[in-house]
């Protein structure tokens, strides 16, 4: 690969470790670099522009490539191309760009391309409020492209998580050969907080599994291992493989006429995530063990929710927080378990009701109270506290 200048990396680490102070967008970019990302294709869009700007400055320093494509559609296509040429690649956008990328996100899913897509969510729909936060794209991340598939999406709620979860996103992408979404929001993206960046050799990095047959032998590029993920050959290694967005068989050739091929492929793409769900899903709990009221919140809303839960405990209310770190696959079992123990679940979201639907589905008979918030201000802890306190 021509894009890593090994001599530069030997003399200094790519990402300076230690206690640093930065914004969420920059932490995300640094996390990507720490994970081994060496290709960024994107288009400026508020509030994700800083990620592009930071990558434009940092990637040439380490022999990586930043290209500002003519639009988000081209950006996503270039990301897939770079990944298929063997380089870890990413893009960053917000709502309007996310919509444009959807078709090619489908291509990445269908061709099992490891890559990371960051959506720093803002007020929508359409052009909406570019400089204001929102959590309105979480369902779109799951269902936005046509066809049937499963995805992985992570929701950072701090600048530290912008770093850590971006690294995790790359690792998940490489493990499952899938585009992974980092669903941040404008506040988490633009706020400045302290970040502890670990030493490079203590950061866990995962790389895509490679084929075991040598090149120039018969090789089926989409034949899965036991974990349902095929080892990945890349261009230039001598495997002469073909990949297409058409329904294909294990050889990679189009099988547009076969119901069996469609069934096998689409079900495997779904099962790849479903069967490995336990290894992928992550939640963070606070004071949940003996809770009588639970709050389920993610992203920026979780910051206020944690504060509310602490305040509630101080007044004697047994409240607890379940914070999904992976929004998709949704932590249904975890929510279901909690729902059996609590009187009600409060869900604050910066939208008109998206993840709350998943909570209701998992919680079954347990009452769910939804707290919407739109516009520039995230939920105030007292707003959540009132809802928690109001539960009998």
């Amino acid at each position: 690969m021509a894009t890593t200048t090994a001599s530069v990396e030997k003399t200094r680490p790519v990402v300076r470790s230690g206690r640093r102070f930065m914004s969420g967008d920059i932490a995300c970019a640094e996390g990507a670099l720490a994970a081994g990302c060496r290709f960024f294709a994107g288009y400026p869009i508020t509030p994700a522009t800083e990620i592009a700007e930071h990558m434009a400055r940092r990637l040439p320093e380490i022999g990586g490539v930043y290209i500002q494509m003519e639009d988000e559609i081209g950006s996503m296509a270039a990301v897939i191309g770079a990944s298929y040429a063997g380089v870890k690649s990413m893009t960053a956008t917000s709502g309007p760009g996310f919509s444009l990328m959807m078709e090619n996100i489908g291509l990445a899913l269908m061709t099992e391309t490891p890559c990371v897509i960051v959506n720093v969510m803002r007020g929508g729909p359409s052009t909406g409020q570019p400089t204001m936060p929102g959590q309105q794209d979480v369902m779109q991340a799951r269902w936005g492209s046509h066809g049937d598939y499963e995805i992985i999406a992570l929701a950072p709620s701090s600048v530290q998580e912008m770093f850590d979860l971006t690294v995790e996103a790359f690792n998940l992408a490489e493990t499952y050969r899938i585009p992974v979404f980092v669903l941040a929001d404008e506040i988490v993206g633009h706020m400045w907080e302290r970040v502890n960046i670990p030493e490079a050799d203590s950061i866990k990095i995962v790389n895509r599994k490679k084929p075991t047959v040598p090149p120039n032998n018969k090789f089926a590029p989409f034949k899965p291992n036991e974990d349902l993920v095929p080892p990945m050959a890349v261009f230039g290694e001598g495997y002469h493989f073909h990949a297409t967005g058409l329904t294909h068989d294990e050889r990679g050739y189009p099988r547009t006429e076969s119901a069996e091929a469609q069934t096998q492929l689409v079900q495997r793409l779904c099962n790849k995530i479903r069967k490995n769900k336990e290894k992928i899903v992550r939640v963070e709990n606070a004071m949940l063990e003996d809770a009588e009221v639970a709050v389920v919140a993610y992203g920026i809303a979780a910051r206020a929710a944690l504060s509310a839960v602490r305040k509630a405990r101080a007044t004697g209310i047994k409240a607890g927080l379940l914070r999904p770190v992976t929004l998709w696959p949704f932590p249904e079992e975890q929510v279901a378990q909690v729902s059996r123990r609590v009187k009600a679940i409060v869900v604050p979201e910066m939208n008109c009701g998206q993840i709350v639907r998943e909570v209701e589905r998992a919680a079954k008979e347990t009452p769910v109270i939804f707290l919407p918030k739109l516009g520039e201000e995230p939920h105030k802890p007292d707003e959540i506290l009132d809802a928690v306190g109001g539960i009998q």
Binding site: V65, A77, V79, S83, A85, S89
Partner: protein
């Protein structure tokens, strides 16, 4: 007249995918043939060739070449190819796609890749129609043509692709018909070896659909039109090379030197690394 010797270009084809799906007399087969011949005459290491195609009949070509290949979403092979080439500049990246894929839905990616002078070769199979979906008009369909979505005759002007490519900054621009097999092969060879963005427009016959709609029902009739109408003129003004029923100007139009995106990127990376 024996059949024991295999075809000399077998090694460029995926044997398990031949015969290809294209109709009898389809120009796509000739383009594949000329491409294989170009690879053969250049003796290129096939391990380094990546063929990228979009959606359309010609889009299936990537499934037939015995190279690493990728079949993208409609209109996006050039953007995909950009990512490939930048990630691994050692690869020879060739985009082979159709007039609609490259210039309707994909138009934006074409003009910017040409502007940036990306190191890729783009071969456009221009058959004046959207064949795969049954014969709708496209940006190169001539005025007044009957197609399924211009049942009263096309009222749109057609692109002059060599003019467009030149205006966008391509460093090598050529147009040939599928009848000009030798010239086309030489142009492909030149384009593959040239630094920067190379564009070859191939006037290709779609006898089954375009031909049938336009009184050229057989492949031979379409080839005869190419023979009668084409005129080889090297380095003529691309702006004056629009295609009419009576004249198809073929030849090389542009062959200039300009630093490619890849070269400038490498220089920039070296400068930046030195400063640090």
């Amino acid at each position: 007249m024996t059949e024991e010797i295999p075809h000399p270009y077998e090694k460029f084809l995926r044997k398990d995918r031949i015969p290809h799906i294209w109709c009898e007399g389809c120009g796509n087969g000739i383009i594949l043939n000329c491409f294989a011949r170009a690879l053969d005459e250049l003796n290129i290491d096939l391990n380094n060739v990546v063929v990228v195609s979009g959606i359309g009949c010609i889009g299936r070509v990537s499934g037939y070449t015995n190279t690493d290949s990728f079949h993208t979403t409609h209109g996006r092979p050039i953007a995909f190819a950009t990512g490939v080439k930048l990630a691994n500049p050692e690869l020879k990246v060739v985009v082979i796609s159709g007039d609609g894929d490259l210039f309707a839905i994909g138009g934006n990616h074409f003009i910017h890749a040409a502007r940036r002078n990306q190191d890729i070769t783009v071969i456009c199979a221009n058959n004046f129609i959207y064949g795969m979906t049954g014969g709708q008009y496209g940006p190169t369909t001539p005025l007044n043509t009957w197609t399924t979505t211009t049942p009263y005759g096309n009222i749109e002007q057609a692109f002059n692709l060599v003019h467009l490519a030149t205006a966008c900054g391509a460093v090598y621009v050529a147009r040939w018909t599928t009848l000009h097999t030798r010239w086309l092969t030489e142009s492909i060879k030149k384009a593959l070896q040239k630094e920067g963005f190379s564009f070859i427009e191939v006037i290709s016959q779609c006898p089954e659909i375009f031909g049938r709609y336009n009184k050229m029902e057989t492949a031979i009739k379409m080839m005869q039109w190419f023979k009668e109408a084409s005129e080889v003129q090297h380095f003529s003004d691309p702006a004056k090379a629009e295609i009419t029923p009576h004249r198809i100007t073929v030849g090389e139009f542009i062959d200039i030197e300009k630093p490619s995106y890849g070269r400038l990127l490498k220089e920039m990376q070296a400068r930046v690394a030195e400063k640090k």
